[in-house]
Amino acid sequence: MAFQLLLNFIIAVVWMFMSSSMTATTFIIGYLIGFLLIFLTRRFFKQRLYTGRLWAALKLTLLFFKELTLSNISVLLLVIRPKLNIQPRIFAMLTELETDWEVTLLSSLITLTPGTIVVHVSDDQRTLYIHAIDAEDAEEAIESIKNTFEKAIREVSRT
């Protein structure tokens, strides 16, 4: 992805030199032309087109903001309820993510989602130990984490 982005920038700069006008407008035109060229020659790259990854990252960001809002509303409702009716539980969740940054991102996202906090990551980075504020939701939480966050992160890191 970094390589394609850099190539696109270089094409834009070359376009600026060719039209000998060093303005932002020329740069943007050159960038669009470069993107068209990269799109046409996409089967020579080993990785997929970089816009796919950018789009996945954007979707992950939007998902993150949605979950952050939901989690805050759930904490609000929990805290202002007159009687505390919670059953905390620490459960283990297996993850299929491999690299360091993926696991870090996943645990940050889990910490900011409704009712869950990562307490410990096992030494082989295969298991996350998650503190859930309500045990009944734990299984559901595992499912939703697996289906939404892991999928979204894998979508970003897919080559």
Binding site: V75, Q87, H131
Partner: protein
């Protein structure tokens, strides 16, 4: 236009203040470290985010000053606050703070016990 801008500013700051209050009530009411970490790491993030966004909109729309520093502050907050919550709850767990009696099930307890035993065995061998 100015009315709209002011409504936006007031709304974001009110959201921020409300969630900051929720954080402090949560820290007072919840029973143990881990449940308090829930309140502290989530609500305070959104609370400070709301207040910073309100300040950003005020200086941008009313004073005409586009402040990148505030946006950077929001970004840094997002990166650091969940990690802070995680590190504090992990440090508490590793130094043996017990979760509240309400806790139903604890999968981590055995793992930590085993790790401590194997550590003790290796240190005995070294001696």
């Amino acid at each position: 236009m100015i009315v709209l801008a002011n409504i936006l500013i007031v709304a974001t700051i009110i959201v921020g203040v409300v969630f900051t209050i929720v954080t402090s009530i949560g820290v007072l009411r919840l029973p143990d470290v881990y449940t308090r970490a829930h309140a502290a790491s989530k609500s305070s993030t959104l609370g400070v985010l709301g207040i910073l966004l309100g300040v950003f909109f005020h200086f941008w729309l009313n004073e005409g000053h586009f402040s990148i520093q505030i946006l950077l502050g929001i970004l840094f907050l997002f990166i650091t606050s969940p990690i802070g919550g995680h590190l504090m709850s992990r440090a508490a767990y590793m130094s043996g703070v017990k979760p509240t009696e309400l806790t139903v099930k604890d999968d981590l307890a055995e793992v930590v016990k085993k790790a401590k035993q194997s550590k003790a065995v290796t240190s005995q061998k070294e001696q």
